[in-house]
Amino acid sequence: MRRDIFQAIADPSRRAIITLIAIQAMTPNALAEHFDISRQAVSKHIRILDECRLLKKEQLGREIYYHLDPQKMKEVADWIEPFRELWEVKFNQLDQVLQNLKKKK
Protein backbone atom coordinates (compact mmCIF):
# COMPACT_ATOMS: atom_id res chain seq x y z
CA MET A 1 0.00 0.00 0.00
CA ARG A 2 1.29 3.39 -0.93
CA ARG A 3 1.42 5.69 2.06
CA ASP A 4 2.29 9.30 2.42
CA ILE A 5 3.44 11.46 5.23
CA PHE A 6 -0.01 12.89 5.86
CA GLN A 7 -1.37 9.51 6.82
CA ALA A 8 1.33 9.41 9.44
CA ILE A 9 0.22 12.61 11.12
CA ALA A 10 -3.53 12.06 10.73
CA ASP A 11 -3.76 9.95 13.88
CA PRO A 12 -3.25 11.32 17.42
CA SER A 13 -1.39 8.21 18.66
CA ARG A 14 0.98 8.42 15.73
CA ARG A 15 1.55 12.10 16.40
CA ALA A 16 2.37 11.19 19.99
CA ILE A 17 4.84 8.52 18.81
CA ILE A 18 6.45 11.05 16.50
CA THR A 19 6.80 13.51 19.39
CA LEU A 20 8.37 10.85 21.60
CA ILE A 21 10.94 9.57 19.12
CA ALA A 22 11.75 13.09 18.01
CA ILE A 23 13.28 13.56 21.47
CA GLN A 24 15.11 10.25 21.68
CA ALA A 25 15.34 6.92 19.88
CA MET A 26 13.09 4.33 21.48
CA THR A 27 12.34 0.62 21.30
CA PRO A 28 8.77 -0.52 20.57
CA ASN A 29 8.43 -1.73 24.16
CA ALA A 30 9.55 1.57 25.61
CA LEU A 31 7.12 3.36 23.31
CA ALA A 32 4.22 1.09 24.27
CA GLU A 33 4.68 2.02 27.92
CA HIS A 34 3.61 5.55 27.09
CA PHE A 35 0.22 4.45 25.75
CA ASP A 36 -2.94 2.96 27.15
CA ILE A 37 -3.62 1.17 23.89
CA SER A 38 -2.43 -2.41 23.35
CA ARG A 39 1.10 -3.26 22.25
CA GLN A 40 -0.35 -4.62 19.03
CA ALA A 41 -1.98 -1.26 18.37
CA VAL A 42 1.30 0.53 19.04
CA SER A 43 3.10 -1.90 16.72
CA LYS A 44 0.55 -1.16 14.02
CA HIS A 45 1.17 2.57 14.36
CA ILE A 46 4.91 2.01 14.20
CA ARG A 47 4.43 -0.09 11.07
CA ILE A 48 2.41 2.68 9.42
CA LEU A 49 5.00 5.28 10.37
CA ASP A 50 7.65 2.98 8.93
CA GLU A 51 5.68 2.56 5.71
CA CYS A 52 5.47 6.34 5.53
CA ARG A 53 9.26 6.19 5.70
CA LEU A 54 9.33 8.44 8.72
CA LEU A 55 11.44 6.10 10.80
CA LYS A 56 15.06 5.16 10.89
CA LYS A 57 15.84 1.85 12.52
CA GLU A 58 18.90 0.99 14.50
CA GLN A 59 19.65 -2.50 15.80
CA LEU A 60 21.46 -2.53 19.12
CA GLY A 61 21.89 -6.07 20.38
CA ARG A 62 18.45 -7.65 20.40
CA GLU A 63 16.60 -4.37 20.45
CA ILE A 64 15.47 -2.21 17.59
CA TYR A 65 15.55 1.50 18.26
CA TYR A 66 13.39 3.84 16.23
CA HIS A 67 14.53 7.32 15.29
CA LEU A 68 12.58 10.01 13.51
CA ASP A 69 13.69 11.00 10.05
CA PRO A 70 13.51 14.79 10.40
CA GLN A 71 13.82 15.38 6.65
CA LYS A 72 10.52 13.59 6.07
CA MET A 73 8.77 15.63 8.74
CA LYS A 74 10.05 18.79 7.14
CA GLU A 75 8.10 17.89 3.99
CA VAL A 76 4.87 18.32 5.93
CA ALA A 77 5.98 21.51 7.55
CA ASP A 78 7.18 23.04 4.28
CA TRP A 79 4.02 22.19 2.46
CA ILE A 80 1.61 23.59 5.01
CA GLU A 81 3.71 26.38 6.45
CA PRO A 82 2.51 29.18 4.12
CA PHE A 83 -1.10 28.40 4.96
CA ARG A 84 -0.41 28.31 8.67
CA GLU A 85 1.45 31.60 8.47
CA LEU A 86 -1.44 33.11 6.56
CA TRP A 87 -3.80 32.46 9.45
CA GLU A 88 -1.27 33.63 11.97
CA VAL A 89 -0.93 36.99 10.23
CA LYS A 90 -4.70 37.33 9.91
CA PHE A 91 -5.21 36.56 13.58
CA ASN A 92 -2.61 39.09 14.65
CA GLN A 93 -4.47 41.64 12.56
CA LEU A 94 -7.71 40.55 14.19
CA ASP A 95 -6.15 41.05 17.65
CA GLN A 96 -5.56 44.66 16.65
CA VAL A 97 -9.14 45.13 15.42
CA LEU A 98 -10.48 43.69 18.68
CA GLN A 99 -8.26 45.95 20.72
CA ASN A 100 -9.63 48.97 18.84
CA LEU A 101 -13.19 47.78 19.50
CA LYS A 102 -12.43 47.66 23.22
CA LYS A 103 -11.01 51.16 23.24
CA LYS A 104 -14.11 52.56 21.59
CA LYS A 105 -16.31 51.33 24.41
Binding site: D4, F6, Q7, I9, A10, V76, W79, I80, P82, F83, R84, E85, L86, W87, E88, V89, K90, F91, Q93, L94, D95, Q96, V97, L98, Q99, L101, K102
Partner: protein
Protein backbone atom coordinates in the same frame (compact mmCIF):
# COMPACT_ATOMS: atom_id res chain seq x y z
CA UNK B 1 -2.46 43.72 28.60
CA UNK B 2 -0.53 41.87 25.95
CA UNK B 3 -1.22 38.20 25.80
CA UNK B 4 0.45 36.03 23.21
CA UNK B 5 -1.95 33.34 22.16
CA UNK B 6 -0.79 30.14 20.61
CA UNK B 7 -2.59 29.06 17.48
CA UNK B 8 -3.30 25.40 16.97
CA UNK B 9 -3.22 24.27 13.37
CA UNK B 10 -3.91 20.67 12.52
CA UNK B 11 -4.03 18.96 9.17
CA UNK B 12 -6.08 15.82 8.83
CA UNK B 13 -5.13 14.58 5.42
CA UNK B 14 -7.24 11.43 5.65
CA UNK B 15 -10.43 13.45 6.05
CA UNK B 16 -9.17 16.42 4.01
CA UNK B 17 -9.70 18.77 6.91
CA UNK B 18 -7.84 21.56 8.53
CA UNK B 19 -8.59 22.56 12.05
CA UNK B 20 -7.50 25.95 13.36
CA UNK B 21 -7.99 27.12 16.94
CA UNK B 22 -7.10 30.42 18.48
CA UNK B 23 -8.08 32.30 21.59
CA UNK B 24 -8.78 36.02 21.50
CA UNK B 25 -8.62 38.42 24.40
CA UNK B 26 -12.12 39.82 23.80
CA UNK B 27 -15.76 39.06 24.43
CA UNK B 28 -17.67 36.73 22.12
CA UNK B 29 -19.75 39.75 21.12
CA UNK B 30 -16.71 41.61 19.79
CA UNK B 31 -15.08 38.60 18.16
CA UNK B 32 -18.37 37.67 16.51
CA UNK B 33 -18.72 41.23 15.20
CA UNK B 34 -15.19 41.15 13.79
CA UNK B 35 -16.06 38.00 11.82
CA UNK B 36 -19.48 39.06 10.63
CA UNK B 37 -19.40 42.81 9.93
CA UNK B 38 -17.87 43.92 6.64
CA UNK B 39 -16.28 47.14 7.92
CA UNK B 40 -14.43 45.10 10.55
CA UNK B 41 -13.64 42.13 8.29
CA UNK B 42 -12.06 44.50 5.80
CA UNK B 43 -9.58 45.51 8.48
CA UNK B 44 -8.12 42.07 9.08
CA UNK B 45 -9.38 39.33 6.75
CA UNK B 46 -6.70 39.70 4.10
CA UNK B 47 -3.14 38.91 5.15
CA UNK B 48 -0.79 41.84 4.65
CA UNK B 49 0.12 43.21 2.16
CA UNK B 50 -3.30 42.33 0.75
CA UNK B 51 -6.32 44.32 1.81
CA UNK B 52 -9.85 42.98 1.85
CA UNK B 53 -12.45 45.23 0.27
CA UNK B 54 -16.09 44.26 0.63
CA UNK B 55 -18.36 44.88 -2.31
CA UNK B 56 -21.53 43.45 -0.79
CA UNK B 57 -22.33 41.46 2.29
CA UNK B 58 -25.58 39.83 3.31
CA UNK B 59 -24.95 37.95 6.50
CA UNK B 60 -27.96 35.66 6.44
CA UNK B 61 -28.43 31.99 5.63
CA UNK B 62 -28.40 31.90 1.85
CA UNK B 63 -26.67 35.28 1.75
CA UNK B 64 -23.25 36.07 0.36
CA UNK B 65 -20.16 38.08 1.16
CA UNK B 66 -18.51 39.31 -2.02
CA UNK B 67 -15.09 40.87 -1.59
CA UNK B 68 -11.79 41.43 -3.27
CA UNK B 69 -8.33 40.80 -1.94
CA UNK B 70 -6.43 43.75 -3.24
CA UNK B 71 -2.71 43.33 -3.67
CA UNK B 72 -0.13 46.07 -3.20
CA UNK B 73 0.02 46.50 -6.98
CA UNK B 74 -3.77 46.96 -7.10
CA UNK B 75 -4.39 43.48 -8.43
CA UNK B 76 -7.79 42.18 -7.32
CA UNK B 77 -8.57 38.59 -6.41
CA UNK B 78 -12.33 38.24 -6.07
CA UNK B 79 -13.70 35.86 -3.49
CA UNK B 80 -17.07 35.04 -2.08
CA UNK B 81 -18.50 33.26 0.90
CA UNK B 82 -21.99 31.78 0.81
CA UNK B 83 -23.51 31.40 4.25
CA UNK B 84 -25.05 27.99 4.86
CA UNK B 85 -25.95 28.13 8.55
CA UNK B 86 -25.83 30.77 11.27
CA UNK B 87 -26.35 30.40 14.99
CA UNK B 88 -26.06 33.89 16.43
CA UNK B 89 -22.94 34.43 18.59
CA UNK B 90 -22.19 30.70 18.43
CA UNK B 91 -21.21 29.52 14.98
CA UNK B 92 -21.64 30.00 11.29
CA UNK B 93 -20.71 27.93 8.31
CA UNK B 94 -20.39 28.54 4.65
CA UNK B 95 -18.66 27.84 1.42
CA UNK B 96 -15.75 29.78 -0.07
CA UNK B 97 -14.95 30.17 -3.71
CA UNK B 98 -12.96 32.30 -6.02
CA UNK B 99 -15.18 34.25 -8.39
CA UNK B 100 -15.39 37.29 -10.62
CA UNK B 101 -16.44 40.74 -9.44
CA UNK B 102 -20.10 39.79 -9.91
CA UNK B 103 -19.80 36.75 -7.68
CA UNK B 104 -19.82 34.20 -10.48
CA UNK B 105 -17.65 31.34 -9.29
CA UNK B 106 -14.62 30.39 -11.32
CA UNK B 107 -14.16 26.70 -11.76
CA UNK B 108 -10.43 26.67 -12.15
CA UNK B 109 -9.80 26.99 -8.45
CA UNK B 110 -11.39 24.82 -5.82
CA UNK B 111 -13.38 26.14 -2.89
CA UNK B 112 -13.79 24.88 0.64
CA UNK B 113 -16.56 24.47 3.18
CA UNK B 114 -15.93 25.71 6.68
CA UNK B 115 -17.49 26.06 10.07
CA UNK B 116 -16.40 28.74 12.51
CA UNK B 117 -17.49 28.48 16.14
CA UNK B 118 -17.10 30.84 19.09
CA UNK B 119 -16.90 29.81 22.73
CA UNK B 120 -16.55 32.08 25.75
CA UNK B 121 -13.53 31.28 27.93
CA UNK B 122 -13.96 33.61 30.86
CA UNK B 123 -13.28 37.07 29.44
CA UNK B 124 -11.73 35.60 26.30
CA UNK B 125 -13.15 33.79 23.29
CA UNK B 126 -12.04 30.58 21.67
CA UNK B 127 -12.52 30.47 17.93
CA UNK B 128 -12.39 27.15 16.16
CA UNK B 129 -12.42 26.84 12.40
CA UNK B 130 -12.86 23.58 10.63
CA UNK B 131 -12.15 23.73 6.93
CA UNK B 132 -13.17 20.90 4.61
CA UNK B 133 -11.62 20.46 1.22
CA UNK B 134 -12.67 18.00 -1.40
CA UNK B 135 -9.02 17.11 -1.63
CA UNK B 136 -6.13 18.54 0.26
CA UNK B 137 -4.40 18.84 -3.08
CA UNK B 138 -6.97 21.60 -3.64
CA UNK B 139 -5.33 23.44 -0.82
CA UNK B 140 -1.94 22.94 -2.39
CA UNK B 141 -3.35 24.58 -5.49
CA UNK B 142 -4.63 27.55 -3.52
CA UNK B 143 -1.28 27.99 -1.86
CA UNK B 144 0.51 27.69 -5.16
CA UNK B 145 -1.92 30.09 -6.76
CA UNK B 146 -0.30 33.13 -5.42
CA UNK B 147 -0.71 33.54 -1.75
CA UNK B 148 2.51 31.74 -1.35
CA UNK B 149 4.32 34.17 -3.60
CA UNK B 150 2.40 37.15 -2.29
CA UNK B 151 2.95 36.11 1.21
CA UNK B 152 6.58 35.21 0.97
CA UNK B 153 7.10 38.50 -0.82
CA UNK B 154 5.31 40.24 2.04
CA UNK B 155 7.61 38.67 4.57
CA UNK B 156 10.52 39.74 2.42
CA UNK B 157 9.20 43.30 2.49
CA UNK B 158 8.91 43.11 6.22
CA UNK B 159 12.51 41.97 6.51
CA UNK B 160 13.52 44.94 4.40
CA UNK B 161 11.54 47.30 6.58
CA UNK B 162 13.02 45.91 9.73
CA UNK B 163 16.52 46.05 8.37
CA UNK B 164 16.17 49.57 6.98
Amino acid sequence: MNTIYQMSFEVDKVNNKINVKREFNSSVEHVWAAWTRPELLDQWWAPKPYKARTKTMDFRVGGMWLYAMVGPDGQEIWCKANYLAIEDQKSFSGRDAFCDEHGVATDDFPGSTWNTSFKPLGEATLVEIEIDYKNLSDLEKIIQMGFKEGFTAALGNLDELLNA
